[in-house]
Amino acid sequence: MTRYNILVTGVGGQGLLTLGRVVGNAAILAGIDATIAETHGLSQRGGSLIVQIRLGDGESPLIPRGAADLIIGMEVLETARRIVYANKNTRIAMNKFLWPPPLADYPDLDQVISRIKETGVKLYIVDANKLSEEVVGSVISANMVMLGFAYAVDDGLKKLFEKEHFLKAMERVFRGKAAELNKKAFEKGYEEGLKQA
C-alpha cells in the first residue's frame, strides 16, 4: 500500500504538534500504522514549522518533495513556502491567516492565493482563526478547525477515517472541557468544509 502523506505547515505556537498528535491517535483508533515527524526546540519559537504525517505501512518518516497528498496550511506564507511538497493532484486546506515575520517585507494574501491556484492544485480556504474565536473564544483551537475542514474537503482522509476517529482521538489528547471545545471547533471546520467540498 502506498502511504498517505499529510504535510502540516505553519508557525511555531499554532498547534501543529497537537494536530499531529490528534491524527496519530485517530490512526491508532482506525487501525492504521503511522509515523509523525515533528520538529522541536528552537523551531517552536515563532519559527517556520512542519509536521510530516505518513499513514500506512512503512517507517521512513519524511515526505519527499512532491509526494504530499494533503497539505494543511495553518498560515499563508508557510503554505506558500512548502508548495514544493505538493504535486498537481495535492489538496491544500489553508487557513486564511497571513502572519508576517517581524521586520520583513512579504507578498500579500491575494497574490499568494492566485499563484497557488495557478499551479492547478485544489485549494480550499477557511478563516480558521475567526471560526475558532466564534466557537471557543480565542484562536487557540484554529488547529482543530483546520483539521475538521481538511477532513471535509479531502477524499483521501475520508477513505481512511470515520469522523468519530478524530472526535475520540481528541478525547485522548485533550482533557475535560478542552476536549469538548476542540470537538466543537473540529465540527465547525467540518461544516465549513462541507460547503466547499
Binding site: V11, G12, G13, G20, G24, A27, D33, A34, T35, I36, A37, E38, T39, H40, G41, L42, S43, Q44, R45, G46, G47, S48, G58, E59, S60, P61, L62, I63, P64, R65, G66, A67, L77, E78, A80, R81, I83, V84, Y85, A86, N87, K88, T90, W99, P100, P101, P102, L103, A104, D105, Y106, P107, D108, V112, R115, I116, T119, V121, N129, V139
Partner: protein, 624 residues
Amino acid sequence: MGNEAIARGALEAGICFAAAYPGTPSTEIMEALAAVARDAGIYVEWSTNEKVAFEAAYAAAMSYVKSLTTMKHVGVNVAADILMSSAYAGVNAGFVIVSADDPGQHSSQNEQDNRWYGMHAHIPVVEPASPRDAYRLVKAAYMLSEKYKHPVLFRSTTRISHTRQPVTFEEDIPVEKKCKGRFDRDIERWVLVPAHGRKQKKRMMEVWRRVAEEEGVEPFIKIINPGMKKAIIAGGIAYSHVMEALEVLGKKDEYTVVKVSLPVPLPYKPILEVLKESQEILVVEELDPVLEMQVKKLAYENGVESKIHGKDYVPINGELDLDSVARSILSFEGREPVMPWKPLEPLHLEPPVPARPPVMCAGCPHRNTYYIVKTAANKAGLKDPIFTGDIGCYTLGYEPPFYTQMTSLEMGGSIGVAHGLSKVVDEPVIAVIGDSTFYHAGLPPSVNIIYNKGHAVILVLDNQYTAMTGHQPHPGTGLTAMGEPTVRVPIEKLLETMGYKTYVINPMNVKESINIVAEALKKYKEGEQVAIVSRMKCALQAVRKARKEGIKLPVYHIVEDKCTGCMVCVKLLACPAIVVPKGAKKPKILPELCVGCGLCAQVCPFKAIEVFKEGSPNWLEAWK
C-alpha cells in the same frame, strides 16, 4: 514519540536510576521518566550538566543498580572524560548512555556523528531504525551491557526521537527492581592510576573483541532476502528509508538488505558472508562513513573482491530521507535518478516569501534585557561592546535589531571567550549567558576571569527555567525533576562570592533597570569586576500560569491618533505581536498575541501605546 519509546524500554529493562541534562532532541526521554518516576518507583534527576548526570548514573551502575543517562550529541562532548574512563572500569549493572544526534542540525551547533564516540571509547553502539525499533533495542542494549559488564551507547537521532509511531508494549515494567546498591571497594578497578588503567584496558579490549565476534545475531544484525547479487548494508534510520525506497522503486526482490543495529564494533561474521555472496554492495548510513570504513576493512582483510560503495553515492551532509536514499540507490545502479513524485515549482511571488527564523516570543524577558543593556551601554558611554553569547533561546539576540550575541559556540563559552577577548582586544566585552547554561558550564570560566584578572561583564539572563528545551527545572527554580521542592541556588550569591560586584534587575521595570545597568557598566569602565543578573520569568510560563489560575493579562494597543508611524517599537523590539499591515504607515498590535509585558509602551517616544484590555488586578502574580 521515539523518546517516550526509549523511556518505556528502559523501564521494562528494569532501570531504577536516571539522570540527564536537557538537550534537543533527547529531552523527552527524561521528561517521560520523571512523569512516572513515583509510580514506577525509580529515581530521576535533571543534573547540572551532562558530565554530572553521567557520573551520577554511572555510580549507580558501578553499584549494581541499572541506570540510564541521556543527552544530546554535543552533551557527550561535555561528558567525554568520564565516558572514556567508564569503558576502562566497566559496570556491575546495565548502563546505557543515550546520545540523541541531530543530523540536519534542526537545533544544534553541529551534526557530529556520535558513533565515533563508540569507536573512540571502545563502547558498543546500538542504533534503532524507528521509534518502535528503539523501544525493543533499548532493552537489547541493557542485555548487552549486563552480559559484558560494559557501558553501551544508544544512538538515536532527531527523526527517531521526535517521530511518533504506535508502539505495542511487549511486557510490563518489573515491580521488583534493584534500587539499593552496594559499593565494592575494588581499588584496582575504580582508581585508574596508570598501573590499574593498563590492566583495565586489557579487559576493555577483550570485551571489544568479543562483541564483534559474538553479536552478529538478531536483533543487532538482521539479513533480509539473502543471496542476491546486489546488497545494501544500512544502519539506523537509513534502513527504514532503504526498505521504503526499494518498495517504491519496485526493487525489493533484487537486493539483499542487511539491517545493522550494532554499527560499532561491527559484528563481522554475517557481514562477511554477505560480502562474499554479493558482488555489488552499497552502504547506506546517515552522516559519516562509520559502517563503510569497517565494511571496507573487513573486505580488504579477507581478500573479498566485491565492489563496495557508500559515500560516493550517499550524501554525507545533513539527514537522509526516502527521496535522497532512493536517488542514491538509482545512482548506484548507474541510472538516472528519476523519482515517482513530481513536485510543483516554487511560487513566483513578489516580494518572495520572507525567511521565518525563530524569534523571541511576545513578552520574552530577553527582549527587555537586550533593549535595556544596549540603552544602558549608550548611557554609560560604553563604546562598541562585544557581546559574547551562549546556547539558549537568547541566542536569537544575534539577529537584528539586537546584535547582542556575537559568538555562540558551546555551553558556557560566552564567559570563557569573553575572558580571552578581554585580554587581547580593546573593546569592552559583555558575556551573555542563560541561567541554566550558567549552572551548566558558566561557573569555572567566571572564576577564571577573577583569578586571571580578565575584564568582562557577566550578564546572566535568569528566566527561572531551562526554557528552550521545554522549561525543565534547574538549581534556581526551587523544584526537582520529580516535582519536589528544593533549595534555590542564587546566581547573584555565587557571583558575589567569586568577587563580582553583582547587580540584580527586573527587566519588566525598564527605566529603573536601565539606570542600574548603566551604573554597573560605569563601574566596569572604572575597572571593577561586574556581573548583572536579569531576573524575569519566561513569558511562556507566565502565560501558562495566568491561564491555569484564571488571571487575565493586560493587552496593549497602539492609539492611532498618537502614533506618528516612527516605527521605533517595530524596529527596536521585533516583537511578533507588533505587525505592520501590508501598505500601512503605522504598526498595530495583534491582541491575540500580546501578553501585556508593556515593553513597547515604555519604549514608545510618543506614549501612543496604551492598555486596551485591563488585566486582572493581580496580573503581575503570573510573572512571579
